[in-house]
Symmetry: C2
Subunit: 504 residues, 2 copies
């Protein structure tokens, strides 16, 4: 789930169990902040034209809604494309739950490899996000109720991509140009599913950090938080223990007279508002997102982060200077996530801003994206709790008046026994996962067949492979990207060979 869902659920669940809602997809830097390495390279390479496509609102039913359309945004870069006459490839990013510009800026990999492949770059925005809003672009109307939101679903999004790509290729007279799809996180799930459902539209998919197995009973609901636990424990046993112990200390302190005020001061919370739940949520958010974006070079996600931020957090916690003051230690860790620039003087726990427009994820999480990730077993760095579907269901009922359909994703896209099912079915998918990423527990971590392969980076975080490269990148990251480029090259060679085979 996403930022907005955290925030929404924070409010709703803070009194019940704060740690149950720490599940969301982040990405890596926002529109206004380019990380240092992009300051030079990004400005040069990051360029695109904005286009709009008249898209069908309802692909699957033929009622009058089918004939309603909306404007779907896509970004195009044809600087490196050697054109339709050469059947040069088209690389498409299958947009996820937010403003497409944000994902585009976070997918430097595509810009960097485009010249090598003479590829056209296309970044398609997911319906209901960014500027791709049905109902005349009126977000208030589109998001007003379950009838209008009903058209926000993954199957509709995939059909959008198929329709747009086919039409774009026709318009470019590039029907024989091979299409490769790319995506990270939910966008990676869409890329993998797109290859499986629309093999006639794309020859292969790079699905980065795509937790397509985080549905139903396939992946343990403890997996997500256990990976976060291991991330911190792997840095230092003390760091893990301090964080694990902090929740009860906060609880105990909050109960005392003047306790909340003490907490407010310890954690530099602004004078507007504090509660035990919101403070715990604020802290857990920092740990979850930092684990997810534990990149080897400085990055900006929602906030700027140093290289290896989990290590930095644990350094702050383990710092002998803070002695036995656990609040000061954990504040030091949180400060890395929330205040790495050092500009903040206090923190607002009620900051529900949504700069990347991720709010639609709440709807998706209440319909098909029921991903059980919120369990905490004894070892967890967060307080023990069970994943509780009914809690989600109650939230969705009260927010939208609907029941989730927790079995739908496995019905429509599969996932159970995926190795058996896809061993002799399908081809040309790369599943990348960084094992530091809590979402990796729901990813495909083993090769399924010769051409449905898993690339694992033990030290990698959430879709790190798709980010802009940097001189400081570690060797393992260079190797991951190199392997991906090689595999994509092979897909393309095979495709061009098949073109020849079918001519002669």
């Amino acid at each position: 789930m996403k930022i907005r869902l955290i925030l929404l659920l924070l409010v709703c669940f803070s009194s019940i169990s704060f740690a149950k809602i720490t599940t969301r997809f982040p990405s890596s830097f926002d529109d206004n902040h380019l990380p240092s390495d992009l300051a030079s390279k990004g400005k040069e390479l990051l360029s695109y034209e904005t286009h709009y496509y008249t898209q069908i609102l309802d692909h699957f039913n033929y009622n009058p809604q089918s004939y309603q359309t909306f404007q779907q945004r896509y970004l195009l870069n044809d600087k490196y494309w050697s054109g339709s006459k050469k059947n040069a490839p088209i690389f498409v990013y299958t947009g996820n739950e937010g403003n497409i510009e944000w994902f585009t800026q976070n997918t430097g990999f595509m810009f960097e490899i485009a010249p090598h492949f003479n590829a056209l770059l296309v970044f398609i925005e997911h319906r209901f996000y960014g500027k791709s809003i049905p109902y005349g672009g009126n977000k208030e109307t589109a998001y007003s109720n379950k009838s209008t939101l009903g058209y926000l679903s993954s199957t509709q999004a995939l059909a959008d991509y198929a329709t747009l790509i086919i039409d774009l290729k026709n318009n470019l007279t590039a029907t024989d140009s091979p299409v490769v799809v790319f995506g990270g996180s939910y966008g990676g799930m869409l890329a993998a599913w797109f290859r499986l459902k629309y093999p006639h539209v794309t020859i292969g998919a790079l699905a980065s950090s795509a937790p397509i197995l985080n549905f139903g009973n396939i992946t343990s609901p403890y997996s997500f938080n256990n990976i976060i636990t291991q991330d911190f424990k792997g840095e230092s046993e003390n760091c893990y223990k301090v964080i694990k112990g902090i929740w009860k200390q906060i609880e105990d302190t909050a109960k005392t007279t003047g306790g909340l005020e003490k907490l407010r001061k310890s954690f530099r919370i602004c004078k507007n508002y504090i509660s035990q739940g919101s403070l715990q949520n604020w802290l857990s958010t920092a740990f979850v997102y930092t684990a997810m974006t534990d990149y080897p070079t400085p990055s900006i996600f929602l906030n700027p982060l140093p290289a290896y931020p989990v290590k930095e957090m644990c350094k702050a916690i383990d710092d002998p200077k803070t002695g036995n003051d656990m609040f000061e230690k954990v504040y030091g860790a949180a400060n890395i996530y929330y205040n790495y620039t050092g500009n903040a003087t206090c923190f607002n726990l009620n900051d529900h801003s949504d700069p990347h427009g991720l709010g639609g994820w709440t709807w998706q999480a209440c319909t098909e994206m029921v991903m059980p990730t919120d369990g905490n077993n004894n070892e967890s760095i967060f307080p023990v709790s069970e994943w509780d579907y009914n809690e989600r269901a109650r939230f969705c009922q009260s927010n939208f008046g609907i029941k989730p359909r927790p079995d739908w994703v496995t019905t429509e896209f599969g996932g159970n026994n995926i190795e058996r099912v896809l061993k002799k079915f399908g081809s040309n998918i790369i599943f990348f996962n960084g094992l530091k990423d809590p979402w990796s527990g729901g990813g495909v971590l083993k090769d399924i067949s010769k051409s449905i392969v898993a690339i694992i980076a033990k030290e990698g975080a959430h879709h790190v492979d798709l980010r802009w490269s940097s001189k400081e990148d570690p060797e393992w990251l260079r190797q991951v990207r190199g392997r991906e480029v090689n595999i994509i090259s092979n897909w393309l060679s095979q495709y061009y060979q098949s073109l020849i085979d079918h001519i002669y």
Copy 2:
């Protein structure tokens, strides 16, 4: 398209160009007439229980309609099933555009092979047909307008099948039982598409006479009628010439004083009504359906037919007894299709009865099932004409107030360059085609890969392989069925091996 579409279009287009609408899927015998071989065998083998499943109306949108349900009928035979403990297989017929009992009775093949495989048999009715009518089973409401009919689409039907099969397996605690899907004609298209879109639900598909390539520009719009032409020409050059010449003779006669009455008497049309167009349609319907169901043994489609009915028609035409009376010759041919029992005393051109409930096909043909089959080139046995999409569009506009989406099927299911696309993608599909079947022109006629294979019978007609076997079946038909059984056996062996591989 289907009977009802013919009839509907007959009325609309008879004044424009009668031969353009001779496109429909037939099947083989109706509820009340069992062919002679089934009279003994069928009565013994044909048995099933009727069940209903509470199905979701709209799988793809999460608006309030998603939470509407309807009762979907399925027929079950567990006589031969050796049960879930043995992971015994489940054979599912993916129902097409009509009453499921009709298709079940026409798919003796499944009953005949079930004992060999110890298989459970399930025949699922397609939504909006038979007794599987949304809106509380009220057909009048369900068919009343484009809003209610909107939920009648192939993608919804496939999702119905996935949902029902998964649920049925759960209820039978048979989650590891492999599912093989079977279908003929449109049902065969659905079976093939189901394997491609839902490989996690079915291990393989037998798609019999499934013209999945009869969309867009993939197959020539002359193909359908050219195959009919060859069917008759192959019997006798004279037969072909007589039929080819009859249309103009009817036209010329109709123009003369008393001409229509002469035609009425010549063709034994009842006294109620005759027009040139309706007569021509009536005749062309006989030639089209007879070609389609040119089976090697006696059968009953809408009407009873002898073995090799095309040959019988040409015998009637070539009969020296009728001298040079072309009307008498062609009447003799039509009489084989319309009156093989000899009971009819006159024919009613306005008989729009629809005993198998195929009416929904008109809607499907006006939305996604735009199959260009109505062109006639110079060689055609029917008058020269071009396939005209606009004619279809006008019909659909005036009937339903909607525009067809002729590109949708190739967008959603593919079809273009299918050999290239599926060469290294997908597995375990048998495409059977009989080359006498006019629909075979839109079928997959070549092996695509080792496990996506084409079985061709030069002398076969529309899904002849799925019919009950008979002692009189020719050797080629026995061989076709034998090959199908062998291939399905291999799929199952591989599946059971993969179960073992994943345990150890």
